[in-house]
């Protein structure tokens, strides 16, 4: 289907056919008292060249990871993005595709959804995945609503350090729904099993555990999942898909629901979005799962085809009884993640995860030799760690940014109860970059 505006002649033809002399006649039902009878006060139109100049000047005020060396994390990471991804997702069939409500003309879209869902199931060890949500925060919020609906209980326990921005979104979604959120404070950077035990009750719908947690620390998630189940609650795990290249899958650990941020899977940082909300569940929850889901079937001639499955979960059929009112997915980013996973494969993902792990530990070891810098928490971590600093984190960030290095995130800017510099290291950071970072810190 091509998207070409109508010509004046075509417009006249259409008007003539419906017996109307001009467009104004079609607007005649709008009361005169609300009609704007003068042209809109817009500046003069610019030429294509002038527009390009203006936009280029604006965008030049931003820096990208092509120009600076980034150690920023907290949910969005500078992982490598293979070039093949943009050439595939910028194909017009994918870039302009709409919601696949009509399967006969949407087989490409539906097939890519099915492949993505299958890969997420393999990666997370879960039985079924949806075709994505907007981002991890909203996926987590939806998981909480689903848990409350499924168990009939109204309390969500947050075990340890979950990303504060995700929790803000959960707060927004659960507000007014009679669902309570209760944070169990971390002990020395991680969750305490004893604290989780004493907080669990027959009101607990779900326990949320982030793995690795917001500090980058690896939690004893399996134990917490078990405790949640003993109390009749669901276990929601929030994961980093890159970490699943080397870490035990949430499915193997008994998670009921898995949500995650898929940005690291071939999606650019883009100043915060669009990102990708991963959402997967055990089979028993399939009818409660929100979001779009592709299924594989055969047509009347026995040929394989793809359709939207179990639409009776969705709000366009179940209306106010649907688990969620979401009627979309993050299609283009989902496709990017699918292409990424196909290109790097299980071996490649393992390599990305291993390199990130090793490089972050190399950096942590060297930074902590500098006086005034130490690891905030002495716990195992994956690719991100929190350091106490001799100068305020904001000052370090300001001074190193001038030298083309983004040293990390001032954690107090996201969570006022914490202090320190949160540093993330991906497979992209070379040894020279890591060493340079250390020298810049030493010279402060």
């Amino acid at each position: 289907m091509s998207f070409v505006p109508h010509t004046d002649a075509e417009q006249q033809e259409m008007l003539r056919l419906i017996g109307v002399s001009d467009i104004e006649e079609l607007l005649s039902t709008i009361p005169e008292s609300v009609r704007l009878r003068k042209p809109l006060h817009l500046p003069q139109a610019l030429s294509e060249f002038e527009v390009l100049r203006e936009l280029e000047a604006l965008s030049a005020q931003n820096a990208s990871v092509d120009q600076v060396i980034s150690f920023q994390g907290a949910g969005a990471y500078d992982h490598f993005i293979p070039s093949a991804i943009s050439s595939i997702i910028s194909r017009s069939e994918f870039a302009t595709a709409y919601t696949p409500y009509q399967p006969e003309v949407s087989q490409g879209t539906l097939q890519s959804m099915y492949e993505y869902q299958s890969m997420i199931c393999e990666l997370t060890g879960m039985d079924v995945a949806n075709a994505s949500m907007y981002d991890c925060g909203s996926a987590l919020a939806e998981a909480c609503l689903m848990a409350a609906g499924d168990t009939g209980r109204d309390e969500i326990l947050i075990a340890g350090k979950v990303h504060p921005l995700y929790l803000e979104i959960v707060r927004t979604y659960t507000h007014g729904q009679g669902i309570q959120m209760r944070v169990i404070q971390h002990r020395d950077g991680a969750s305490s099993i004893a604290d989780v035990d004493s907080a669990l009750s027959e009101n607990t719908a779900a326990v949320i555990i982030q793995q690795p947690n917001f500090f980058g620390i690896i939690e004893d998630a399996e134990q917490i999942v078990k405790r949640a189940h003993d109390a009749g609650a669901l276990a929601i795990m929030v994961i980093d898909p890159i970490s699943l290249g080397i870490m035990k899958s949430p499915g193997e650990q008994g998670a009921d629901v898995v949500v995650g941020e898929g940005q690291g899977l071939g999606i650019p940082l883009s100043m915060g979005g669009p990102y990708l909300g991963i959402f997967a569940v055990r089979e028993a929850l399939i009818r409660k799962m929100p979001g779009r889901m592709a299924g594989m079937t055969v047509d009347v001639e026995g040929n394989r085809g793809f359709v939207m499955a179990l639409q009776t979960r969705e709000q366009h059929i179940r209306r106010e009884k649907a688990t969620s009112n979401i009627c979309t997915n993050e299609g283009l980013m989902m496709l990017a993640a699918t292409v990424y996973l196909s290109l790097i494969g299980p071996e490649g993902l393992k390599e990305v995860a291993t390199l990130s792990l090793q490089k972050s530990h190399y950096l942590a070891d060297r930074i902590t030799t500098i006086r005034g810098f130490q690891l905030k928490y002495q716990k195992p971590f994956f690719k991100e760690f929190l350091v106490d600093t001799p100068l305020p984190a904001t000052e370090i960030i300001y001074r190193l940014s001038q030298k083309g290095v983004l040293p990390g995130i001032d954690i107090s800017s996201l969570d006022p109860e914490e202090t320190g510099l949160l540093i993330a290291v991906t497979e992209k950071r070379t040894r020279a970059e890591l060493d340079r970072f250390v020298e810049l810190l030493r010279a402060l």
Binding site: R287, Q311, T312, I317, R318, K321
Partner: protein
């Protein structure tokens, strides 16, 4: 359209067959034909109680979901386990193998408030 004289009916197209203190409940032939292929039924736990007209479950066809309303107040004593694997029994045999729940009737007087076969026939314009 099959509308057995021995049953009582609700305005929402459920039927109930009274068997002493108990009642067997399902949906009518008219309802199953309007819904089309049934793909899933969500039924309550044994032991739960509902009042007359309260929703006790849902029934899903390919493009629609409907509530199921209990014809008379009572406690669920049995649920048709075959419907989990074979929801199409409701289409094939709505009054027999497609039965949904069996209840212990709380108040027999409520049965008299339901439609008889003749009244149900005129409701659906037959």
């Amino acid at each position: 359209m099959n509308i057995p004289d021995t049953l009582r009916y609700t305005k929402d197209h459920e039927w109930i067959r009274v068997e002493g203190d108990y009642g067997v409940v399902g949906i009518t032939d008219y309802a199953q034909s309007e819904l089309g292929d049934i793909v899933f039924v969500e039924l309550p736990q044994v032991g739960s109680s509902f009042s007359q007209g309260q929703s006790f479950g849902t029934i899903e066809a390919v493009k629609a979901v409907s509530d199921l309303f209990l014809p008379a107040s009572g406690e669920i004593v049995e649920v048709n386990a075959n419907l989990g694997n074979a929801p199409e029994l409701i289409n094939k045999d709505p009054y027999g193998e497609g039965w949904m729940v069996k209840i212990r009737i709380k108040d027999h007087a409520e049965i008299d408030t339901l439609l008889d076969a003749k009244a149900y026939r005129s409701l659906i314009g037959q």
